[in-house]
Structures are given as structure tokens and as C-alpha cells.
């Protein structure tokens, strides 16, 4: 049995699925599983951004608000100003990276705690989104744009493809690029990383910029799927993304973990909500179930890790560059 332990997170996911399919025959239907993957896609994209931020020992509370602001901007550019799709998308990504830049700069240069600056950024960008849209909802985009959210390539829904592409890119970054190792090094020990020649401030800034870009990307997929854009979207996202990362095994202290785990975390959360809908669990109890399950899952994980002290499901890249 011991050989199964490195895959503990994956196992928990399988156990969860088995349990639910036992309780509800609809769970394992192909269309339901595709639904789950599609619903988890946006959370996954945000989760990837959150993962790299948390690995450096930080946190990003502003991703929901940045998602809203960038999607509202894109919506206005698309409908009111009439700009072509690529321009609007690039504009949205630019906004995401600007917000990320500010976050990263404040964290690394001014040494403001990430929690606080991203919390402040959350307020600021949310306010901007409201001011931009003045209480309206922008509705109805072109079919080409909507393809991003509702289209299929080779039978696979677009959101799933985008989320998979993002995941693979970042797994590649974290495992095979120097930047990846630098992220882990900074999270594990910033002092030592600086002394071994890593430009820690630049790493931190880049990480937040990436988180901002991913939030904007998620915003684009979101509005394409929903066919609407409004300033209030994404309120729950920061906490959900953090939950996905934590369930995925990346600790808040940073320095370890990885994007692969976050995928599982996002799936777990989405599956639980899906199951609650399928099983008809009273709406009133849904937060209770989610909270309790998160605690149970993370307890099980941390205990199994401690019992056997084994590495994560996707091996962690801990080499400090230059050592």
C-alpha cells in the first residue's frame, strides 16, 4: 500500500468520485463529467496563477476583481467602442498585467504584505469596474467571441482546452525552466536566494503579473461563456482559488507544491458543488459541506504526508539556481 502514498491527493479524488457515483447514478455520465471539467476550468486558470504566487510565499486576493475589471473593459471595447476581438482581448490582458505589476512592485519594492496590497487592489479594481460600467450589464457578444467560452475543438469544450493549455504551460515552467526553480527558491528562502544571485524582486513581480494576466484570461473565458459582463462577477474567486491551491497541497508558507496539485484541488471543489446539486442537498447547507470537506481533505493529506513524509504528486523542483 505504501507505494500509493505519493498519489494521495489523486486517491482522495478517486475516493470522492466513487462515493458520489454510489450516491447518484448521474454523476458518472459523460455529459456530467464534461460539465464538471468545464465548470472547473475557470477556477483552474485562476488557481494556476494563485499557485505560483503562493509558492513565493505570497497571496493574491485581487484576482476576482481583476477578472471583473478586465472583462468589463473588454466588453466595453467590444460592444460600445466596436473594436475587433483581438484588440479587446489584448487590452484585457494588459489590464491584468498592470494590476499584477502594481501588486508585485508593492510587495517586492515597498515590502507591503501581499495580503494587504492585494486586498486594497481588490477594492480599487472593483471600484473601477463599477465606474466603468455604471451599473449596466453588457450582454450579447459575437459568435466568434462566444466560441472562446462555448465552442468545441475536436469535441472538447473550449474552456477545458484553455485551462489544459494554461496548466501544461505552467507545469513546464515550474519543472523545466530556471524561472520555475527561482519561484520555489524565493518561496523557500528569500534571503538565501538573493545571496545566490537570484533577482528575487524581479521573480516576485513577474509572478504577480502572471497571476494578473491569468485572471484577465479567466475573465475573457467567463464572459464568453456567460455572454455577459458585469462588475460584480468574481467575488468568490479569491477564496475559492486559495482553497483549490491548498487542497492541491501547496502550503501557504510557500517553497513547495505545484500547479498539478491545484488542478486536483479545483476539481475537488467543483465536484463537491456538482454533487450537492445532483443530490439535492439543501442550498442552506452547501457552505457547511464545502467547509467541512475542505478541512477533512487537508487534514487527511497533511497526516498522510507527515506519517510517510513523501513528496507531492508532481515532484517539486527545489533546486536553487546557481547552487
Amino acid at each position: 500500500m505504501k507505494f500509493l502514498i505519493p498519489y494521495s491527493r489523486f486517491l482522495i479524488l478517486l475516493v470522492l468520485c466513487a462515493l458520489i457515483s454510489f450516491l447518484s447514478p448521474h454523476f458518472l455520465q459523460t455529459s456530467n463529467l464534461i460539465n464538471i471539467l468545464r465548470q472547473a476550468a475557470i477556477l483552474n486558470i485562476l488557481g494556476v496563477g494563485m499557485t505560483i504566487v503562493i509558492i513565493t510565499g505570497g497571496i493574491d486576493l485581487s484576482n476576482g476583481a481583476v477578472l471583473a475589471l478586465s472583462s468589463c473593459t473588454a466588453a466595453i471595447l467590444l460592444k460600445d467602442v466596436g473594436l475587433p476581438m483581438p484588440v479587446a482581448i489584448i487590452a484585457a490582458l494588459l489590464i491584468g498585467s498592470c494590476c499584477g505589476l502594481i501588486n508585485g512592485a508593492m510587495v517586492s519594492k515597498v515590502a507591503i504584505p501581499p495580503f494587504v496590497i492585494t486586498y486594497a487592489m481588490m477594492f480599487f479594481t472593483r471600484g473601477l469596474a463599477f465606474l466603468l460600467l455604471q451599473g449596466k450589464i453588457i450582454y450579447g457578444f459575437t459568435p466568434e467571441f462566444r466560441f472562446i467560452g462555448t465552442g468545441y475543438i475536436w469535441g472538447v469544450p473550449m474552456p477545458i482546452i484553455m485551462s489544459a493549455v494554461v496548466t501544461f504551460i505552467f507545469i513546464f515552467i515550474q519543472k523545466y525552466t530556471p524561472f520555475g526553480s527561482e519561484i520555489y527558491a524565493v518561496g523557500a528562502d528569500e534571503e538565501a536566494s538573493m545571496l545566490s544571485g537570484i533577482r528575487t524582486k524581479s521573480v516576485v513581480i513577474r509572478v504577480y503579473i502572471l497571476s494578473g494576466i491569468l485572471s484577465a484570461l479567466a475573465g475573457i473565458v467567463y464572459m464568453a461563456r456567460l455572454n455577459a459582463s458585469e462588475p460584480v462577477i468574481g467575488e468568490a474567486f479569491p477564496l475559492d482559488a486559495i482553497a483549490a491551491v491548498l487542497i492541491g497541497g501547496t502550503p501557504l508558507s510557500g517553497g513547495e507544491g505545484g500547479v498539478g496539485g491545484t488542478v486536483i484541488g479545483a476539481l475537488v471543489i467543483t465536484i463537491i458543488i456538482n454533487a450537492m446539486n445532483l443530490l439535492g442537498i439543501s442550498s442552506l447547507l452547501q457552505t457547511f459541506v464545502l467547509g467541512a470537506l475542505i478541512i477533512i481533505m487537508i487534514s487527511v493529506q497533511s497526516h498522510s504526508r507527515r506519517l510517510f513524509s513523501l513528496p507531492q504528486i508532481f515532484p517539486v523542483n527545489r533546486k536553487a539556481a546557481g547552487s
Binding site: 508593492m106 507591503i112 477594492f123 471600484g127 463599477f130 508558507s253 457552505t287 457547511f288 467547509g291 478541512i295
Partner: protein
């Protein structure tokens, strides 16, 4: 030290938040005609009462290098429990005790998960946030609770010796927390947990017991805030406390407490909470709509924390 030196030393101990508070006060006083009125100050105190109370609890937890994300949901749950008891005629005292009991329960659970199971405080209290929220919704049947109990209304709306009741209540809570933090061994342990947990463990202090105590304290304080909220809006809304945990953290951070425990203080947090409320109130009086308030709160928060960071080096 001579008198002058000790006085100057005490001045240096005044948290930055106090200066920022004065400055914010001045700005709004100059630019807003209706700001400087007794009625407005009375309002500000009422409006800030919940944040101040929750911030006191949050600061205590943060000083021990922890965090309690569940305080908002505990506030809601307390309101619902107290509301049920009041509505069923259990009377003023029993209902409040019931509410506080909810806070103790949640705090104890938090403490156990953190100290015994070893979960990180963020995760444990994050899970508790969902649990308490769900319990609160379920217990309230998804509806708002109401009651008839004039004595309960006094908590937020009454006056004693011409001073609003919340001022008295906040002062008492502040005093108690101050005593606990600075005059008891428990308080010393709280600071020590924040600075050097290993050292404390090696010194033979029962870490588990202390940690559970800290989170129970946080839960109790959160339930006080929940009772205050329920009294202020004369009802118990199952998600009424939503968002207070973040405001409490912001207030503590503006006040100078950091996430690494050990530094900062409750005095700063009170000022931090007041600053947040002041900004909302002042902007409202100046005629700013909500979206502008959002943006400005973000900017001012950043400015305040930047000042704090520069001055703690």
C-alpha cells in the same frame, strides 16, 4: 529617565495609525461641512462598533502568528442563535449567553484543529468560515430572524450617562483584552507564540492549551460583535457578518500589526478600525457614490500601510 525623556519615549510608542486617524479627521473636517457635528461623531462610533470589536479579537490572534477567517461567520451564527433564543422568549441574559456559547464552540473547534490536528490557521478557520456560515443559514431556515426584546435594543442604541452604550461596551472589551494581553501569563504566551513558538515549546509551556485558548477568545469576541450587530439592525441575518474578517485584518494591519506576529497592538487596531469607518463616513458625507468609495478605500489602505512599513524599520 527624566520626565521629558520618558514622555518623548511614550510619544514614539503612539502608533502611526493614531496620526493617520487625526489626519483623516482633519481632512474631512475641512472639506465636509456636516462632518464636525456631535451627531456625526455619534454615528461614527455606532458604525464602527462592530469593526472595532472584531479587530480587537483579530489582532490578538495575529499577535500569536495566527489568523481567524471565521469571525464573520461566527458573528452571523451568534446573531442567529441569540435571535432564536430571544424570539422564543428566553430573555435577555440567556440569549446572550447562548450567542457567546456559539462563539466558544466555534473557537474551540478552530483551536483544536489548529493545535491538535496541526492544520494551518488559514485553512482551519477558512473551513470553519464555511461551516459556521452553513450552520447559521440552516439554523435560521434561510430567513431573517426577528424578536421583541426592548432590553436587547439597548446594546446598540441605548445611552448611559449621556454616552452611547456601544462606547461603554467597546471600552470594557478593550480593557479586558488589554488586561489579558499585558497583565496575564496567557498574554505573554500569546506574544511569545507569535515571536518564537519553538522557544516556548522548549520552555515547557503547554502550546496546545494556549492556542485553543486564543481561538476561543477570538470566537468570544466575534460573538460580542455579532450581538452588537444584531442589536443594531434589530434582526439576525444569517449572513450578516459576511466580510468582517477581512475588515478586521485590514484594521489590524493599518494599526501596525503584521502577519508575523509579535509586534503591533490593539490600540493601533482601534485606530485602524476608526480610520476605515471614518473614510466611509466622510466619503459618504462628501457625496461620493459607492464605486468611488471602493477605489479610494483601496488607495488609502495602501497609503496607510506604506507609511506603517516605512516606520517600522
Amino acid at each position: 529617565m527624566g520626565f521629558k525623556e520618558s514622555f518623548l519615549a511614550k510619544i514614539r510608542l503612539v502608533p502611526n495609525a493614531a496620526y493617520m486617524f487625526l489626519m483623516t479627521l482633519l481632512i474631512f473636517a475641512i472639506f465636509s461641512p456636516s462632518f464636525l457635528s456631535l451627531m456625526n461623531f455619534s454615528n461614527i462610533i455606532l458604525q464602527s462598533s462592530m469593526i472595532i470589536i472584531v479587530a480587537l479579537g483579530m489582532t490578538t490572534v495575529m499577535l500569536s502568528n495566527g489568523i481567524d477567517l471565521s469571525v464573520g461567520s461566527v458573528m452571523s451564527l451568534t446573531g442567529v442563535v441569540t435571535g432564536h433564543l430571544l424570539a422564543s422568549g428566553s430573555g435577555f441574559v440567556l440569549s446572550i449567553l447562548g450567542g457567546i456559547g456559539a462563539g466558544v464552540f466555534c473557537g474551540a473547534f478552530n483551536g483544536l484543529m489548529i493545535a491538535k490536528v496541526g492544520l494551518a490557521p488559514f485553512i482551519a478557520t477558512f473551513g470553519m468560515m464555511g461551516i459556521a456560515d452553513g450552520l447559521s443559514l440552516f439554523a435560521a431556515g434561510g430567513e431573517t430572524l426577528y424578536w421583541e426584546e426592548p432590553m436587547f435594543d439597548v446594546i446598540a442604541n441605548g445611552h448611559f450617562l449621556a454616552v452611547p452604550a456601544p462606547v461603554w461596551i467597546i471600552s470594557v472589551i478593550f480593557f479586558i483584552v488589554y488586561l489579558i494581553l499585558y497583565k496575564t501569563p496567557f498574554g505573554i504566551n500569546i506574544f511569545a507564540l507569535g515571536g518564537n513558538e519553538e522557544g516556548l515549546r522548549l520552555a515547557g509551556v503547554r502550546i496546545v492549551r494556549n492556542k485553543i485558548g486564543i481561538y476561543i477568545l477570538s470566537g468570544i469576541i466575534a460573538s460580542f460583535a455579532g450581538i452588537m450587530l444584531a442589536s443594531r439592525i434589530a434582526s439576525a441575518h444569517p449572513t450578516g457578518g459576511f466580510g468582517y474578517e477581512f475588515e478586521a485584518i485590514a484594521a489590524s494591519v493599518i494599526g501596525g500589526t503584521t502577519f508575523f506576529g509579535g509586534r503591533g497592538g490593539i490600540v493601533g487596531s482601534v485606530f485602524g478600525a476608526l480610520i476605515i469607518t471614518l473614510i466611509r463616513n466622510g466619503l459618504s458625507l462628501l457625496g461620493y457614490t459607492t464605486p468611488w468609495q471602493y477605489c479610494l478605500i483601496g488607495i488609502i489602505l495602501t497609503v496607510c500601510v506604506t507609511i506603517n512599513t516605512f516606520y517600522s524599520r
